[in-house]
């Protein structure tokens, strides 16, 4: 009940913020424009719509996760709105969990709208539905949930600017972590290799959540793999939330 109250309030804050609509409008415009771009290519229409659509959904989803996530807790402390909340019979972990669920809910709605548009446009261009698109967007959503948890963790102890930089760095490295392993194998120095491997092990492997290329090439989606990846993502989120709670638990709201 208390977690739901905080979550609902966080969701309400997001949907009453113009920034969300600006990002969403821009994303929908870009996804819509993919149809025009597709018209310029010969024989690749469906591929361009799907490719550009999934990429836009992922990119703008990440924007929302980062830009709203970095302010989740910081803004509450900075604007002192937290005083009236924490003084009520609510555990601090419930507050953190509520903020997180609220933003994930916001993301679910916005990413859902974007993914649905991509799905419908691809259907229109292709003449047949491609449910794989929704599966790809769904798995990518788990990656967005990780990014949100990273932003939330940073938000519990640092300023939005620093949080944005750190979350963005985590996102970029996380997306490239597959390449990171390949790169590590090329490095002659064992010390540097160990550091790169360490980074790979600590940061989330966000590349695993990208299965768009399988959808584009009509390859089977391997549900067992998707399930394992989702489980990996959820465990990672749990760890991040535990960390965020342990930082937040000790904070003084001066």
């Amino acid at each position: 009940m208390r977690v739901a109250a905080i979550a609902l309030n966080t969701f309400r804050e997001a949907v009453r913020d113009r920034i969300l609509y600006s990002i969403l409008a821009f994303a929908l415009l870009l996804i819509g424009a993919s149809v025009i771009l597709a018209g310029l290519s010969i024989g690749q229409e469906s591929r361009i719509v799907k490719d550009l659509g999934l990429a836009s959904t992922s990119l703008f989803g990440t924007f929302i996760a980062i830009f709203l996530g970095i302010g989740l807790v910081f803004k509450e402390i900075d604007r002192r709105t937290i005083y009236a909340i924490i003084a009520k019979p609510i555990h601090r972990y419930q507050f953190i969990l509520g903020k997180y669920v609220g933003l994930v809910l916001t993301l679910a709605v916005t990413v859902g709208v974007m993914a649905l548009l991509v799905f419908l446009l691809a259907w229109l261009v292709d003449g047949r539905p491609a449910p794989g698109l929704l599966a790809a967007a769904g798995l990518d959503f788990v990656a967005l949930m990780i990014v949100t948890a990273v932003a939330l963790l940073f938000s519990t102890f640092s300023t939005p600017t620093l949080s944005a930089m750190l979350t963005l760095a985590t996102y970029v490295i996380g997306r490239l972590s597959g390449d990171l392993v390949l790169f590590a194998e090329q490095v002659p120095s064992p010390g540097v290799r160990a550091v790169i491997r360490g980074i790979y092990l600590i940061l989330p492997d966000l590349g695993r959540f990208q299965i768009g290329s399988r959808v584009l090439h009509d390859l089977p989606l391997l549900p067992a793999n998707m399930l394992a990846t989702s489980a990996y993502g959820l465990s990672y989120i749990l760890l991040l939330l535990l960390l965020a709670v342990s930082v937040f638990q000790r904070r003084d709201f001066k």
Binding site: A5, R12, R80, A84, A87, P89, I90, D252, F253
Partner: protein, 311 residues
């Protein structure tokens, strides 16, 4: 008597500056507030009033010591079920309407929808915000926010209400409303613990006060007891005073006497001088009309405590 707030040797350190040096802002605070009391927590800016209130409401964590609220340890979140808190200069979610904000607060207390609706409607009426109930808080004035702050502090029908500087920044009308609200809470049998530096309000509503200076309690007790402990002067009113007596009284008082129609008023600084003045007056055939001790005001007492602490 049943204690509602029991603070025992509570200390709080903050780390300040670049080197994160430890500074003690609350020093071994011990204080008890009884059920049904209106308790004023006084102190100049920076004395540690807000720090104490934040400790009591779980916003900051104590460095040492303990406190019990309504018989439950401070660290127990459930202890806040029956506590209402109005933070200093209330900052609330400006994208919510007054009604939505109260509903959110009700949810945080675990109130069910019908109870929330009923309490919200009643409190909005009580703090005279019915007309603005569905307006976003960003459009509220400071006085309106303060009133909404009071309403959210009462959403759970608390038995202990903690208010941080409830009168600061309000116009005379707003202060009056807040004062009346405190008296109403007292009449309902609730305990009110509030910090302030606006002294006339304290004299109007408090049963007991504590004076906090530099993180330490300097004085605590009933207002009249605190103020009685120091008598500033004694006014002696006499009739039938001849000029010789007037001259010797002026010598005793160290200041001129004042004449009011048939009376003479002498202000004496201590009881010894009073004794001698009365004896001399009776010997000279004058009549003693009244002897009135002049107590210090709360403001004088407060300033003296602050000055003594500074020394």
């Amino acid at each position: 008597m049943e204690p509602v707030i029991e603070i025992d040797e509570l200390c709080k350190d903050f780390r300040v500056g670049f080197w994160r040096r430890r500074t003690r802002v609350l020093q071994s605070l011990t204080l008890t507030v009884q059920r049904g009391e209106v308790f004023g927590y006084l102190g100049p800016n920076g004395a540690g009033k807000t720090t104490t209130l934040k400790l009591l409401t779980g916003l900051i964590l104590p460095t040492a010591g303990t406190a019990r609220l309504l018989g439950r340890d401070l660290t127990y979140v459930g202890a806040r079920e029956h506590i209402g808190f109005l933070p200093e200069q209330p900052y609330f979610y400006d994208y919510l309407t007054g009604r939505e904000f109260l509903d959110l607060c009700g949810r945080l207390f675990g109130l069910r929808a019908p109870a929330r609706r009923e309490r919200t409607t009643r409190l909005l009426h009580e703090v005279e915000l019915e007309a603005a109930a569905d307006r976003q808080l960003r459009k509220y004035s400071k006085g309106m926010l303060q009133r909404l702050g009071l309403a959210q502090a009462l959403i759970n029908d608390p038995s202990l209400v903690i208010l941080d500087e409830p009168m600061s920044g309000l116009d005379p009308l707003g202060r009056r409303t807040m004062r009346d609200a405190i008296l109403r809470l007292k009449a309902e049998g609730k305990t009110v613990f509030f910090s302030t530096h606006i002294l006339p309000d304290v004299e109007a509503v408090c049963d007991r006060v504590a004076i906090l200076v530099g993180g330490r309690i300097r004085d605590v007790g009933r207002l009249e007891d605190i103020l009685k402990t120091r008598t500033e002067a004694i006014d002696l009113a006499l009739q039938d005073v001849n000029p010789d007596l007037a001259a010797s009284l002026e010598a005793l008082a160290g200041s001129p006497v004042s004449r009011q129609t048939d009376r003479v008023l002498v202000r004496l600084l201590d009881e010894d001088a009073l004794d001698r003045a009365i004896r001399a007056s009776l010997a000279a055939g004058a009549r003693v009309v009244s002897v009135t001790p002049q107590h210090q005001t709360l403001e004088e007492h407060f300033l003296r405590e602050v000055r003594e602490a500074d020394r």
